[in-house]
Every structure is written in structure tokens, then in C-alpha cells.
């Protein structure tokens, strides 16, 4: 069993029971929500299950002490597909990263054909962020409730997600979902061998409207590499729900 149960987990469990009791939530011990449902709700806050979302990202990467040039991207996403259009830096304007069903392609103005991005190239760099910013964990993973644990003082359900099939990049994810807001606030991404590869933290300051409801939406994502000292911060802005035509994700029309 690779899930390391931290010391004091028992203590935390008791503590969280107390906290939940304080906030008057539904009795946690007997009525913890179904893991898959929880996962689906949390996906929504990052764009899952919606007919289409368009948003802008400001992305800053740090590799060791070197801070890379900030980028501004326009993302359009629906469920398993997304396309990221580079707006800044200006010299890379027009570069696009397309992700459809676990396949990824890169194209640039001037290239005659889009370049497929292999799984190895997704181990690091910007392409690796794509797997993490993916919106549809419910489609790729089976969820099992594991624990409860607070994150930054906020009580969370901890889910163990296991990949449904062998083509999903991260074999297992440990996912902290806020009990109150039902949004994912922290995630740990593990390899097949059980090694921690990346950690991500999510903030939900945005709000989108859909079918009359106001849904919280991710405003900031911080991805930290567990193996090397590198970190990427993405700030999400001008989020809109919009139906996106399938043609947007057509490889042939990508140029």
C-alpha cells in the first residue's frame, strides 16, 4: 500500500470530526458524500461537464532560480479537449497546443504541419501542465474516499483516484476536496511506481454563470514539481462559458 498514512492521521480524523461538528455540517461519519459525485462537482469548478469554457491564463514558470518569461494564453476547453493559444510573448503569438483524448499537438505559424507531442515530452515543461490542468478527472479516474484532512485550515475530503486505463498520464492522484465548497484545493500526482511527481494547489476566486447558477471557478493554480525545484503559477481571468464548436479541436484546421 503506497499511500503513506502520516503520523497523527488518527488525530486529524478526530479533529476534523470536531470541526465539522462546529460548522454544523451534515454528520460526516455516516453521510460523507459519494466519492465519484464529489469528484464530478469538483471537476465543474475547473470546467468539466460544461458545454465549453473560454478563459485567459497568465503563466509564470520558475526553474530553480531562473524565472522564465511570463506567458499569456487563451484556453478553450470542453471535457477531454482543450486548445491553448499563445498571446504573449508576442513573438510566440499564434502558437497553439492542442489536447484531444490524451494526445497532444503543437503548432506554430510557419510550421507546415502540427507536431505530435510524445508522452516523454510531457514529463516536463509546459506540456506537462496540460495533464494537470485537465478538467475531467471523473472520466479518467475511479475515486475512493480515503480520509479527511484540512488544507490551510479548511476541512477537506481526501480522495484516492486511480487511473481507469493505462494511457492516463498519472496513475494515481491524491485529491483534497473542500468539504464546504466541493472544489478541489490540493492534488498530489503519483507515478505508476508510487513516487510523488507533482503537487498542485488550486484557488477559486472566479465565478461563472451556467443555467442560472453561479458556479465558483478556478482563479489560480500552482503546480510544484516534486523531483526538481520548479514551479508554475497560472492565474485564470475573464472566464466565460461558451459553446465551443468541435472544429476548434480539429487537428486539420489547427493552423
Amino acid at each position: 500500500m503506497r499511500w503513506v498514512m502520516f503520523e497523527g492521521a488518527i488525530m486529524r480524523r478526530l479533529f476534523s470530526v470536531f470541526i465539522f461538528g462546529m460548522f454544523g455540517l451534515v454528520n460526516p461519519l455516516s453521510a460523507a458524500p459519494d466519492a465519484m459525485t464529489l469528484l464530478r462537482h469538483s471537476d465543474q469548478a475547473r470546467g468539466g461537464g460544461l458545454p465549453g469554457i473560454v478563459w485567459e491564463i497568465k503563466l509564470v514558470s520558475r526553474d530553480g532560480t531562473k524565472v522564465e518569461e511570463p506567458q499569456r494564453l487563451l484556453i478553450k476547453a470542453v471535457d477531454e479537449s482543450s486548445v491553448a493559444d499563445t498571446l504573449e510573448p508576442v513573438r510566440f503569438k499564434g502558437s497553439k497546443l492542442l489536447q484531444v483524448d490524451h494526445n497532444m499537438w503543437l503548432t506554430r505559424p510557419g510550421l507546415s504541419k502540427p507536431i505530435p507531442i510524445s508522452p516523454r515530452q510531457r514529463l516536463s515543461g509546459q506540456a506537462s501542465n496540460g495533464d494537470i490542468a485537465a478538467t475531467n478527472y471523473a472520466a479518467d479516474y475511479d475515486a475512493v474516499s480515503a480520509d479527511t484532512e484540512p488544507v490551510d485550515g479548511e476541512p477537506c475530503y481526501v480522495l484516492n483516484l486511480t487511473a481507469k486505463q493505462k494511457r492516463v498520464t498519472y496513475d494515481r492522484i491524491r485529491y483534497w476536496i473542500s468539504a464546504r465548497r466541493e472544489v478541489g484545493v490540493k492534488a498530489e500526482f503519483y507515478s505508476v511506481s508510487g513516487k510523488l511527481l507533482k503537487t498542485a494547489r488550486f484557488e477559486y476566486g472566479n465565478v461563472i454563470e451556467h443555467e442560472g447558477k453561479r458556479i465558483p471557478f478556478v482563479s489560480k493554480m500552482t503546480i510544484r514539481d516534486a523531483l526538481i525545484d520548479a514551479e508554475t503559477t497560472m492565474e485564470f481571468g475573464t472566464v466565460k462559458v461558451k459553446k465551443i464548436a468541435p472544429a476548434e479541436f480539429d487537428l486539420g484546421q489547427l493552423q
Binding site: 530553480g64 508522452p119 487511473a163 493505462k166 500526482f189 505508476v192 513516487k195 523531483l227
Partner: protein, 425 residues
């Protein structure tokens, strides 16, 4: 028709050589030194080839034969999963070949690439996964008896640890880039066969030099277990390395195994070490070219020496030739006489050259000279073998050429009118 016998021609030709001792000697020495140069160089290259063969088979761990699924060489690079041997195939083939008495070792190999990280920075690496025991078996075959006794066997730089599959050997450039020391920890990151991200802890066991600047900062040897775990490829291999008991059996075994496996339904191809060792082929090709070059030069010098020598001799002996013709030697006999003289000169020259070569060879071999060849991490001894095949071939060719070189001057002599010849001062 009566003709001068071969024996008589020989005796006369031999005497003819002593006509102008100095000239004969000079030509003979030119032939001798030329021949010895060829024999020595051929012996040197023969030794180099032998060393390279051992280096390729044992040092580079190519073994004698490499067995892989057909298509692996070409398409396999882009789609390894499809062209890898499955665990069933590996097991079945191993079992099928277990009783082959000329096979000393059958080692599954698994290549992979990915990122290696020391916690602060990462860089790409290319690794070969192999069983630690197979490393020892393969590399020790390349050691001479002397080396084996000295304990080099124990210090072989590329040894992996059979007890600890996480111990790896990294190329020196990699070690330097990641600032690792022996026993230091790092992480390797790669994709499984299905594309999932995977990572494992590794410990640096030893570092080594690939001998090639381009690969010395990328290459690594890992245990087969580690490679299989990282790729999530239990029991699988992308090729099997086969070590035989005798390098001369390589081709016959290849054909035999190919047939046996095809008959058993395995769609495999088997390549020998020469197909796979670029370095061997390049060096072999280069040395062959140099040999050809030297050979041509020596041959040209021999032809010119002999033709010159015979030309002068024939002119000097014009009156003698006239006399011989008068007393009954036919034109053909004159040509035979001089070409025989030249042939004898060449043969004696070659024999002398052979003796010179043997002496020089003996001297060099006991001098224990060593040098560091290109693309090598360490010095190798300078030794000269005796390449009998090439020596023989050169001997025959020089004999032929030396004989023919006298033909034109001899013919000129034979064609001269007797009265002109006799009147020659």
C-alpha cells in the same frame, strides 16, 4: 624443338643475379623493405581487428548475436511497444535455446530513455537495462587470462549490483552534470510503454566513460529489473544478447538459430556483432583503405625497382644475349631467362622481407609499447600479429608483379638482331 629446361634456366638466372651484385642487392632490399612494411602493417591491423572484435563483443556487450523481433531495427524505434518481445516470447525462446551447446549466455536487454534528476535540475538520459550477472559474464569474456588473474575482473567498471536493482552506472558527463558522487541518490523519470508517467529512485554505483563525447553525457546502464519496472514491462525485452563459445561460429550459429526459431513460429531476426558495431566497421574500413594504399605504393615501388634494374641489366648484357642467341638460345628462352632472374630476385627479396618483418615484430611485441587509440578511455598494448593470409597473398602477387616487370625489357632484348647485339659495346 629443343628447349632450355626450367632447371637450367633457374641455375643460369641465379648466376645472372650475381652479375651486378650491388644492383641486385639494392633492388632486393627495396623489395624486402616493401614486403616487410606490408607484413608488419597487416599484422598490426590484424591485431587491432582482434582487439576491436573483443571490444565490440565483450566490451560493448554486443555479444556475438542479437536477437530481436523482426521490424525492431527499423520501425521499432518509433513504436517500441509493438516490436518488443513479450514476456511469453522471452520465456519461450529462452527455453527453446537452453540446450544449444554453443550458447554460453542468453541475456534479455531493455533500452529506454527519459529524464534523470538530482532534485534541482534534470537532464535526458538513455539507458540500457541488463541483468547484473550478464554484465559480468559478458565483460569477463573480453579479458585476457593475465587480466583476469590481476583482479581486473573485480574492478570492472560497469558492474551493477545484483542485490540492489536501484544501483545504476552512469556516464561521467551525466555524473558531472548532476553533481553526483558514488552512493548519491537521484530520480529517473520516464514513460511506461502505455505512456504513463513513472519515476524511480536510483543510487549511483559507478561511473564510466563511453569514449564518445556525444554519448558520454547521456548514457547509463541500469539493471533489467529497474528498466522493466520503469517501463511497466514485466518479463519483456527489446532484444536478447547471445554469447557463443567461439567467435568463428558466429555466422553458422546465426543461420542455425534463425532457422530453428522461425520453424518454432517466432518472427525474429538475428544480427551478428559486426552488423551492429559501427565503430568496428568504421575502423575496419579505414584500416583496409590504408592497407590498400600502402600495398599499392609498395607494389608500384617494386615494379619500378625491378623494371629499372632489369632494364639496366639487359642493356649491360646485350653482347652476352647476342652470344647466347648465336649459340642457340631462342627468343623465348631469353625472355624466360630474364623473367626468371627477376622472379628469383623478387622471391628472395620477399623472403628477406619476411625475416625482417619477423624480427621487427618480435622486437615490438616484447617492448610492451602502449598507446591510447581514438575513442578509447584507456591505453592498449601495441602488438603485431602475423596475418598469414595477407602475407601469402602479397608474396604471390609481388612474385607475379616482379616477374612481369622484367618482361618488357626482356622482350626488347630478345627482339634485337643478333648481329646488333654482338656488336654492342
Amino acid at each position: 624443338m629443343k628447349n632450355i629446361s626450367m632447371k637450367n634456366t633457374f641455375t643460369l638466372a641465379l648466376r645472372g643475379l650475381s652479375r651486378n651484385r650491388r644492383r641486385s642487392m639494392v633492388t632486393l632490399l627495396a623489395i624486402a623493405f616493401g614486403y616487410s612494411a606490408i607484413v608488419l602493417f597487416a599484422g598490426y591491423t590484424h591485431n587491432v581487428y582482434g582487439g576491436l572484435a573483443r571490444q565490440s563483443i565483450y566490451g560493448e556487450m554486443l555479444g556475438h548475436l542479437t536477437l530481436s523481433k523482426r521490424g525492431m531495427r527499423k520501425e521499432g524505434k518509433l513504436d517500441p511497444e509493438r516490436y518488443m518481445l513479450t514476456s511469453t516470447e522471452v520465456a519461450s525462446i529462452t527455453k527453446l535455446l537452453k540446450d544449444e551447446k554453443h550458447i554460453e549466455l542468453l541475456a534479455p536487454r531493455l533500452g529506454l530513455s527519459g529524464l534523470i534528476s538530482n532534485g534541482r535540475a534534470s537532464t535526458i538520459f538513455i539507458a540500457d537495462g541488463i541483468e547484473p550477472k550478464a554484465v559480468v559474464d559478458l565483460r569477463q569474456g573480453g579479458l585476457t587470462d593475465q587480466e583476469r588473474k590481476s583482479g581486473m575482473y573485480e574492478n570492472m567498471k560497469m558492474r551493477l549490483d545484483p542485490e540492489h536493482s536501484e544501483v545504476v552506472s552512469l556516464s561521467e558527463g551525466l555524473v558531472e552534470m548532476l553533481h553526483l558522487s558514488v552512493g548519491g541518490q537521484a530520480v529517473v523519470l520516464a514513460n511506461t510503454l502505455t505512456g504513463q508517467a513513472n519515476a524511480l529512485d536510483i543510487t549511483l554505483g559507478r561511473s564510466f566513460n563511453t569514449g564518445n563525447a556525444g554519448s558520454n553525457d547521456k548514457f547509463a546502464f541500469v539493471s533489467l529489473a529497474l528498466a522493466r519496472s520503469l517501463l511497466d514491462a514485466e518479463g519483456r525485452a527489446d532484444r536478447l544478447t547471445i554469447l557463443l563459445d567461439d567467435v568463428n561460429r558466429t555466422e553458422t550459429m546465426r543461420a542455425h538459430l534463425q532457422e530453428k526459431l522461425r520453424a518454432a513460429g517466432f518472427d525474429v531476426e538475428i544480427q551478428n556483432w559486426q552488423d551492429l558495431s559501427d565503430f568496428y566497421n568504421q575502423v575496419h574500413g579505414m584500416f583496409d583503405m590504408i592497407f590498400g594504399f600502402i600495398f599499392s605504393i609498395v607494389l608500384t615501388v617494386v615494379i619500378m625497382s625491378v623494371a629499372n634494374s632489369m632494364g639496366m641489366t639487359v642493356v649491360e648484357r646485350t653482347r652476352e644475349i647476342g652470344t647466347l642467341r648465336a649459340i642457340g638460345l631462342k627468343r623465348g628462352g631469353v625472355i624466360k631467362l630474364f623473367t626468371t632472374e627477376s622472379m628469383l630476385l623478387t622471391l628472395i627479396g620477399c623472403i628477406t622481407g619476411l625475416l625482417i618483418a619477423l624480427v621487427v615484430r618480435w622486437g615490438i611485441n616484447i617492448a610492451h609499447i602502449s598507446y591510447t587509440p581514438p575513442n578509447s578511455a584507456s591505453a592498449v598494448p601495441l602488438l603485431i600479429d602475423l596475418d598469414a593470409r595477407r602475407a601469402m597473398f602479397t608474396f604471390v602477387l609481388m612474385g607475379v608483379v616482379g616477374t612481369l616487370a622484367a618482361y618488357m625489357p626482356a622482350r626488347r632484348a630478345a627482339k634485337k638482331d643478333i648481329i646488333d647485339a654482338l656488336g654492342h659495346v
